[in-house]
Homo-oligomer: 417 residues x 2
């Protein structure tokens, strides 16, 4: 048997013990993990420094180095995040519905863990701890396969977390870090249909497509967030301008940032000149169609590709539309099913926007940047799904469980012959 299959089997075995833990035991474990990270600060930061220096030698970009870098403050934030997960309600064992059938059997729907979750991710070493905490809290085993740039940091973090598992008398295989980073090993992991219950890839579109295309195990993912903002004819234009700036500028590298602005022709003349100067002030490059460009100083011509792009940068595509329907059609054509926003004072239009769009998150008069597990009240986020199955939109602890049936009777039979 290959190493990776062996490790995965041990994780599955260990996961059965995690599934049985009480909420208190799981919370104590997560707090012990946080303490272990703090106790091991020196060795973790040393490992991270080695990753950083290797990354610099390989000539990685500044943005990559930023994502990779840990310091004492960042590590303390990782430990605090584990304590926050400990404070979240436990989804496991929750009875979501209870029904007594006419024949007297009681039927409960009860949340149980998924089993073994494989997290496939890139540079950020904090994912190692965050994802482990969420998977374990939801009663699962977790197999972590991070990027090669972060391997020393991930190994150090995993060592701390595994020590906390052992000290709690639990099998540390419940948290398994894959250290064989060859592509073939990842491919093998993604084929283990009887062992791995779910794979969640997080990172660039390239990684996610690789996982989605090669996995035989179920995958929940989103490729990209091409989020739209439609300013309706009846919009409060000051409110719309605030949503535009927050959505585009506050963190352009996030998947819930705005990529395309659609403006109703009736208010384009009022809105777009002000929008153009507010965007220009914040160094946002504007790519507009002919009608919007005529109203926006400094706009460049937009291309078809721009409308389908997730810029992840200070760039926005703009288009003037003649109706709500045209906006909806544009989003159907170019959207990624992630998050769409309308600014309007017309309730009927708000409802039609919400009903006509199939995206995971649809918002009325609120910033696209709220499309996030924490902001939407999930407590934490393991990923975002734009796949209409199991979970759709930001995923929290609950998305790491599934409902099953528990039936209690007093000897009822169905059709005793």
């Amino acid at each position: 048997m290959s190493d990776i299959k062996q490790q995965a089997l041990q994780c599955r075995e260990a996961a059965q013990q995690i599934a049985q833990l009480s909420t208190d035991a799981k919370n104590a474990l997560l707090r012990a993990m946080a303490a272990a990270l703090e106790a091991d600060e020196a060795s973790i930061l040393e490992a991270n420094a080695a990753d950083l220096s290797a990354a610099r030698e390989k000539g990685l970009s500044g943005a990559m180095l930023d994502r990779l870098k840990l310091d004492a403050r960042a590590l303390a934030a990782v430990a605090d995040a584990l304590r926050e997960v400990a404070d979240l309600p436990d989804p496991v064992g929750l009875v979501t519905r209870r029904d007594v059938r006419p024949n007297g059997i009681s039927v409960e729907r009860v949340r149980v863990p998924l089993g073994v979750i494989a997290m496939i991710y890139e540079a950020r070493p904090n994912v190692t701890a965050d994802a482990a905490a969420l998977c374990l809290k939801a009663g699962n085993g977790v197999i972590l396969r991070g990027g090669s740039e972060a391997i020393r940091s991930n190994t150090a973090i995993a060592a701390s977390l595994k020590r906390a598992l052992r000290q709690a008398g639990l099998p540390d295989a419940a948290l398994t870090l894959v250290t064989d980073l060859r592509r073939e090993a990842m491919l093998e992991l993604l084929q283990l249909t009887d062992i791995v219950d779910l794979a969640i890839p997080r990172g660039g579109e390239g990684l996610i497509r690789f996982v989605a295309e090669h996995a035989r195990v179920p995958v929940i993912k989103h490729y990209k967030g091409v989020c739209h903002f439609f300013v309706d004819a009846s919009a409060d234009l000051e409110l719309a301008l605030r949503l535009l700036i927050d959505g585009k500028v506050s963190r352009p590298s996030a998947c819930n940032s705005l990529e395309t602005l659609l403006v109703h022709a009736d208010i384009a003349g009022d809105f777009l000149p002000a929008a153009a100067s507010a965007l220009a002030e914040r160094n946002v490059e504007i790519r507009g169609d002919a009608r919007s460009s005529a109203l926006m100083a400094g706009a460049k011509p937009v291309t078809e590709d721009d409308y389908a792009a997730e810029f992840l940068d200070l760039v926005i595509a703009v288009r003037v539309v003649d109706s709500l329907d045209e906006a909806i059609a544009h989003i159907h054509r170019y959207g990624s099913d992630h998050t769409e926003v309308i600014a309007t004072r017309n309730e009927g239009n708000a409802e039609r926007f919400v009903q006509s769009l199939r995206s995971a998150v649809v918002m009325v008069n609120a910033s696209s940047r709220f499309s996030d597990g924490g902001e939407l009240g999930l407590g934490a986020e393991i990923g975002i799904s734009t796949t209409r199955l199991h979970a759709y939109g930001p995923m929290g602890l609950e998305a790491l469980t599934v409902e099953r049936f528990v039936v209690r009777g007093s000897g009822q039979t169905r059709n005793l012959p």
Copy 2:
């Protein structure tokens, strides 16, 4: 573009209209479909007779012919089943949770359709109507790929249902019957990841494995139901005997029938002789381990393979165990995560049985035959999942939808820079 992709795209296009329909419109559609089936009784039964005669020529088994056969009464039952689906509550648009965040945005979780569902099934022509009704009621498009034995029946049924769609002013591509039954066409359908949101195979283990192994689209399925019945030391033995007979004999070909009987050693001497004679009376073949065979007249020796088998027949595997833990370990080893039953008067043991097993349905003092969407209160059943993702256990209308987020604000921003 291939025919099958073209058809699937048309189905997806049509599904967007189905997703927007009101509950009343969907219910009226289903009732019109029922009426259309009744109006077309002659042509449907004629098509079915042709299927049957072709099947007889091909030398299909009696059981296969039974599954294939429709008569006026069976067709009336199919039409009634459509009306029953019309009477079920509509899952689409249901607000499952509503929360106002500290910043004042309202966050709703709302059920939406999955999109396009591909049903892959074998001989039973009633599935054509049943599955179509459930998929459409949940706001989805449906692509139906039945077995070649039933192609004439399925085509006739689909023609009636499609006429009802057109008469309601709806695109009949929302219900698409695949008539190209070549294996390559099915393979192509199962690769359409951007068009088909879910495939549900129903039929023999061979078909289901073929679909699961070749699909790139998500698949929800169960391979088999190796359902266990554990008679605890404290069980009411009369009750246990009734559950045994109902579970094994009332419909041995069903996946929720019992395959293995586990009996606590303390009561084996009391229970097994009575069980043996009750089973023998009903022509059930007994395959036991040494300890149970000593107590059961006519028992044959059980093999390792028997414990993993879904007999789908009047055969039962038996084993005496020394403890609840041994029963649980047996089920972990040989089970299929479908349905397990304990007979006990000890509440602690009942709880431990429920908590220690990961199966989709776990029952205390009730017949395994209740592991069915209708019996458990789902109203109807599109399939059963033993995959711990999205749905686990019998799936009804709700499993054909997913929850998304609808956010309403008054101009809130996250971190306006």
